[in-house]
Symmetry: C2
Subunit: 215 residues, 2 copies
Amino acid sequence: MHKITEIGMELDVLGENRRLAEGNRELLRSKGVRSVDMMGSIGAGKTALIIRMAEALRDRGLKVAAVAGDVTGEDDFIRLRNAGVEAVNCNTGSECHLDAHLVDHALEKLDLDNVDVLFIENVGNLVCPSDFPLGADKRLVLISVTEGDDMVRKHPDIFHAAEVAAINKVDIAEYMDVDLARVAADYRRITGKTLHEVSVKSGAGIDPLLQALEL
Amino acid sequence: MHKITEIGMELDVLGENRRLAEGNRELLRSKGVRSVDMMGSIGAGKTALIIRMAEALRDRGLKVAAVAGDVTGEDDFIRLRNAGVEAVNCNTGSECHLDAHLVDHALEKLDLDNVDVLFIENVGNLVCPSDFPLGADKRLVLISVTEGDDMVRKHPDIFHAAEVAAINKVDIAEYMDVDLARVAADYRRITGKTLHEVSVKSGAGIDPLLQALEL
């Protein structure tokens, strides 16, 4: 969060975002769409996880869509579309996070009557998105063993902001010299909850994660 | 950058930062200290690279210090100190980047007469630090092969803001299924410059990087 408290604007920006997020929440619920705000740093595997979860959900007959949030470009949007996920691209310009207003406009481009589950992929950033709820039912923060084993201790706010957290690429934890138990202990100490371990590549841990997200 | 343009405050915040950055630059130059602002996402290897470069510089008789910037905690500060690097911890609270004012105060805690090279480790974030120069001679952005091969395309602003860029962990590029040539081509297309390839673990590529940083 950029330093704007001293001019008394932070509350206005955050309050306005919260108001718009409530609007998104009401719209999604009225259409029977369950939704997840996917937060995490660049390279954590957010796009790949959406594709993996979408496969599992489609096998159960559910219709899945995604909002691909990024500062610029269409890389994630194209990956999602090529994987058969109905998607809307959502560039922030120079902003370091999605906000409820951007998501509001992205939702206008989706046929929500034909969506059961919506994934909103936030900008790759482990700091800023935490302050800006988007109106999703759940917020998920995805980290990766490649980020080192101190990422939870360094960014407690985003883990507080999310109902569910998962660590990806656990199949290479040993190779990366990362102590998974330490990361899980940090997460439990900060939130009182269990950190989900997943490998998007192998598919390990995806079903329990979907359960935690109530999908 | 959080959306504050509509209330006309962005220019003030950025202008004030630039003014303070100039003060830092003048102070560091007056003391004969060469300085590098180290930017990059969490887990890119910024702290480990500082330790590696500090070893090489100390072998040449130079005195090295570091400012360890993080949202919260002392993990990087402790790693630097344990590696024998004179360091100052600099927590931003909830801010997603260092700013020139925070660095100004960190500099007060260092004996700059006994420093030849200063590394300022920014908060792990590939978006926000680009807007906030700190007054360092050079800005370096460090990425890692574990972040995927689209990170340059997704974050052109920070690569424009930095004079030098390097990609770390190139020893595991093949294992991570990352196309280094694509990343380097994106970087050249955007900046016209060559992306440095390094492995902080093995030490490969460190000397050319120090040369590019004029250290």
